[in-house]
Symmetry: D2
Subunit: 326 residues, 4 copies
Amino acid sequence: MELSNKKNVEHQNSQFLEAWVEQFRPYAKEGNCANYIPALELKNPNELAISIIGSDGIEMKAGDTTNTFTLQSVSKVVAFISACMDRGMSYVLERVDVEPTGDTYNSIVRLESHEPGKPFNPMINAGAITVSSMISGNSSQEKLDTIIKLLEKMVGKKLIVNEEVYKSEWETANRNRAIAYFLMDSGYLDCEVEEALEVYLKQCAIEVDVSDLAMIGLVIGNDGYHPILKKQLFSKEVAKLTKALMVTCGMYNFSGKFAAFIGLPAKSGVSGAILAAVPSHASVHSPFPTGCGIGIYGPAIDEIGNSVAGVPLLKHIATEWNMNIF
Amino acid sequence: MELSNKKNVEHQNSQFLEAWVEQFRPYAKEGNCANYIPALELKNPNELAISIIGSDGIEMKAGDTTNTFTLQSVSKVVAFISACMDRGMSYVLERVDVEPTGDTYNSIVRLESHEPGKPFNPMINAGAITVSSMISGNSSQEKLDTIIKLLEKMVGKKLIVNEEVYKSEWETANRNRAIAYFLMDSGYLDCEVEEALEVYLKQCAIEVDVSDLAMIGLVIGNDGYHPILKKQLFSKEVAKLTKALMVTCGMYNFSGKFAAFIGLPAKSGVSGAILAAVPSHASVHSPFPTGCGIGIYGPAIDEIGNSVAGVPLLKHIATEWNMNIF
Amino acid sequence: MELSNKKNVEHQNSQFLEAWVEQFRPYAKEGNCANYIPALELKNPNELAISIIGSDGIEMKAGDTTNTFTLQSVSKVVAFISACMDRGMSYVLERVDVEPTGDTYNSIVRLESHEPGKPFNPMINAGAITVSSMISGNSSQEKLDTIIKLLEKMVGKKLIVNEEVYKSEWETANRNRAIAYFLMDSGYLDCEVEEALEVYLKQCAIEVDVSDLAMIGLVIGNDGYHPILKKQLFSKEVAKLTKALMVTCGMYNFSGKFAAFIGLPAKSGVSGAILAAVPSHASVHSPFPTGCGIGIYGPAIDEIGNSVAGVPLLKHIATEWNMNIF
Amino acid sequence: MELSNKKNVEHQNSQFLEAWVEQFRPYAKEGNCANYIPALELKNPNELAISIIGSDGIEMKAGDTTNTFTLQSVSKVVAFISACMDRGMSYVLERVDVEPTGDTYNSIVRLESHEPGKPFNPMINAGAITVSSMISGNSSQEKLDTIIKLLEKMVGKKLIVNEEVYKSEWETANRNRAIAYFLMDSGYLDCEVEEALEVYLKQCAIEVDVSDLAMIGLVIGNDGYHPILKKQLFSKEVAKLTKALMVTCGMYNFSGKFAAFIGLPAKSGVSGAILAAVPSHASVHSPFPTGCGIGIYGPAIDEIGNSVAGVPLLKHIATEWNMNIF
């Protein structure tokens, strides 16, 4: 393809993206901003933004892309990678299983009924709190720094915790505290309850924008290799395990349907964030033939916890641009 | 690559495959033939066989490949495809969900607790019985013929039901009958209980060999396109949905770990059968760069229901030959 | 107390009873006749009747006492006594536990999760079907005859099965069939599924009136001794065990509240029947100082399955007349 | 009965009691002292003691009656009575149900699945923690004092908290803390988590002997009336509700069997304590014809949490001396 032609196509694709954002923005009406965290409830539910960054570093974005928001459950992916890097995969997997459950994200039931206390996977709260307790560091601050350092390498800029959101979550964290004490009782926490919870709730409150999400997705999609830094940040094995977890458990108890109809490794958060990691082989016939990362933000979420405008937008893009791992 | 060189490589790969079968054959000692079906219990637990068929039709096989065995739960994949072809995906998905559960294959618990009676996915018995009830046909025989016809197109030869295995399963089908009556009670059966059960148990008893399995996997891997017949047998959408289901739910409550460590759409049966569908994009750097189907038979199974020699054999091949969808 | 005075008091109490029936009759509006059995749905929801029979054989009754109705779950009590007489208590209790569950009457969940397949108690459907399978007799008819014979001794007249109700239940028995096949699968049925179901559904369809219920309650309350026949029909141990079961499990998942606020051994059925067995020591300060049986009929039931007018009527009587085992 | 004759009978009964204690003492070998609390684990498992106090104040005792021990779950009964006195029965019952569950005492499952967060009954930990949060008082100390004051009125002497046991339980209270935070999350705690837990764990650690237990049982059995003080300590309604709860839920998930085979309102604790409340009408033909309270201590417990020597001793006495509410 000639350069000018390539530019034309890129321009056209950008226009498509803009149009699609406007097409799916009205879907926000079907959902609401997460209301159990005051700082999230105040967001504008009609916002919708997307960024896609290819392995060549070229970014395509559309919508309200200057907005920032907190990672929430998207942070589970990064914390899991961090724990695997720090402790080794086998250590981590002795303490958290990798099976999907079909339960809601804050369910405590299976902790009692199956291999008592062992959390089913790192993408539900129970597993994520166990993961946070395993991160390197002798205090919650050190553990958090470990996660943030990895994140900053991925996104290429400084990141901070949104203290207001963190405080707001800390004050309403009774269910998570119940889960953490249950884990402690069964021996599945590697540090004190309050330390693990502080790490977990602070990682959830890290502030990002859609471009940051797309960068995280890009590195995971690329099997841990950062195509712009030209550096392997974590092993291919950890990356593949992470993508498998995103497919089987990443979208709460919508994961099965997401895999079935969208077919990309993804993780959502109740802030309305969605992260998708697209390996090169899953996007050969797309505008990003060597893989890409996708970041979406649409704060109105459904009862399951996924962005009501973001999911259909991602589905539309994946279908139109032939991105699918299956 | 020159032709003679290609031949050499093929020969070498064949030798690898033979060696790997012998390497993993001893794993059979860790399991047992399914003992709830007398006809299965009499099988030789030490047998192990594999066939891999590429999109060019070239087959590589090793081990006890002349053995035949029954499809058992592998049939759930084909019946699901058949129901989608007959009724349309949306009709099918109104009656069976596509969420993984983490429960055992014959669990009845979720039928009571979540959206009462709707089975969680077509890869567990509850969902599979619902699927069988939806197949085209006015009798169990007609429904079964619909499934067999599709299967015969895939494998290119006549197939029969092993009547001894079928009778043996029919007589011990109390748990499945309990599930079926529960489904009937909640309105999730499209025909009479006994008709649905007869279809389900007969489809489980269809006799195949590893080459047949590989052919089925090849067509699914190729998005429904039969590369030898050069014919689209079912739609790309159905194929992708099926592969997603295989990844999230295909290996019973080992599915999460299978996705994490093997990373291929697969489905197992208690006969010791494993079917894997490898899309071209997941095998670019393998000896089968345009995709392949894999059939494995190792009748000694673990407590979850998967072949104890077959799973590590498949894992070894997938790792050595770079086959992975993630 | 002089005879004439005694007559006066009896007359006064009878008038109270009439007044109370009218007082609680309007409660029927809060419920509905069981709608899953067509023959029950056609009943007049506003009917309410009561009979109380003392150990001296004197009966006090009020309301629509000429109505007949089917025993439904009240039959579980008699079938349990019959099985204990036929097989011995220890044989029966090896096959059915006596723990309350807090689950609904037709729940199947615990069959899977606790000591797989052993029903929790004889007052829920799973336990009752197991009990029916243990009754003496080589056919469903013989087993049923065993139960009816015991019942007829208690009530002193011939009883018949309401064939219309039975047929209606047989046709809609899918959930019970699911339970029965589950029990068969786990080895907790003493005869074939269809035989056990036929016994169970026919015993549920035995036609009685409130005086019959009161007679059954009288004998159970009297520790198995029939005060009019002056004959011990079954052992004191079986009677006490039965009353304990009625208290802990007799009113479905309202049993705890019934024990707490009414405090009498009782069993209800979805036909709107309630049977209460009042031991002499629990009614010393009542108009029936040597014990009594109470039969109530009010076909409008609540979501749990208890008569919405019958329960408060019984509560009122128990409170006013000082009947309480606690 | 002549006085001398009465004395003779009393003497003989005392001798029976001594003999029965020795007869059942060896049963202790089947159990172990609770091992999750170090201070309990150090107890001598072979100890067995009983006290029975009649409404006339006469006590009969046998075995190691000088031993003291902590109330543990027996305190749930007194705390429940105290909450009902302080808040009224209807206030209490809006926050805790009175249904038996069949689950273990520290189960958290039903908090998630049924009317989310509302504990099923006050005799399991979840319900007991809710009850403790409702006791009168503006601090944990004030709430505890309320309970102790009621207890002291019942037993007629000063009582203290065993600080060593309390500390030991506080340090291992993760599972209870998990339950308490879950309750807080669903709005079923009336004070802060740590305050409720402190009350709950301290009430569990109140030190008593078998005579104290018998006195508590006597007052409850007598419908709240203290026959020695000649004073109504709490209402008859609260007493009857409490006895009903003891029968349906008092012996953990052995309650159904205990009601079936022993037939007395009772409550056990993991310290090996058992409290039984015998109403006069349930003991007319016993050596305590106007009712009694029974206290038992046998620290070796079974897997469910009940004293392995104490339960059969109580069963033997209840049978031999005709004590039974049914």
